[in-house]
Amino acid sequence: MTVLTVLLVITGVLLGVAALLVLLRMTLGPTMLDRAIAFDVLIAISICAIAVEAAIDRNAETMPLLLVATLLGFVGSVSIARFSPGSDDVEAEESDNPENRARGVRPQRERERSLRERSLRARRMNR
């Protein structure tokens, strides 16, 4: 057991403690965005954990996994933030943008209403 192995085992324990605390924050919330941030940190911790495992074994086979995890964390947290309830992002941009108005892009709510009316009409005709 060399000095390096001792250092790496301590590193693993520290990462485990950090992951546990982040998991606690993910469970407590309270909002979806808090969980998105915690998810980002959890991905960073798991990248560190994979790196420590590679350092212990001295194998470079898990390197592509690090790359995939980086991009996965980015896509995950951005999509949660983009479509989080209450932020009104998508709808506000569609209706506020004058170009969209000119092109005839309608806001989500209007589109949903017209879809509902169309299905109601179709049902009436079938009768």
């Binding site: 590193t11 605390l21 909002t31 965005l33 941030i37 790359l67 980086t70 933030a81 209450g86 992002d89």
Partner: protein
């Protein structure tokens, strides 16, 4: 004590420094009161912690192809982390999930009504 031994020890120190940063960030994430302050602590392992760990691993592996991939990991993380944080902070502010009593300066609070006004003017009366 050869050069590889020294490299191994330096790698171990870098890895342990990165792990310490993640623990500090996790404590901050658990104890800070609102989303923006939590984001402040969340960036530590995402950029500096990951850079330390990646540098340590590159020193331990001492393999050019692995170093190239690790460099790519570091670059991707440094490019994508600010974008993700910006999206989260923006969504939180718009949803009103930011504690205004904790803010020192609130420039966006002045900017949003002005933006809405200019949009209304350019489009004519609603």
């Amino acid at each position: 004590m050869t050069l590889t031994d020294v490299a191994d020890i330096v790698a171990g120190i870098l890895l342990i420094a990165g792990a310490l940063l993640t623990v500090i960030a996790a404590i901050g994430l658990l104890r800070f009161p609102d989303l923006l302050t939590r984001m402040h602590s969340a960036t530590k392992p995402q950029v500096l912690g990951l850079l330390l760990v990646v540098a340590g691993l590159a020193l331990r592996l001492r393999d050019p192809s692995a170093t190239a991939i690790l460099l790519l990991v570091a670059v991707f993380q440094m490019v994508t982390a600010p974008v993700a944080s910006h999206m989260a902070g923006r969504a939180a502010y718009r949803a009103g999930q930011v504690r205004k009593d904790l803010l020192v300066a609130d420039e966006l609070g002045d900017a949003i009504p002005r933006l809405k006004e200019s949009l209304r003017d350019s489009r004519g009366a609603p």
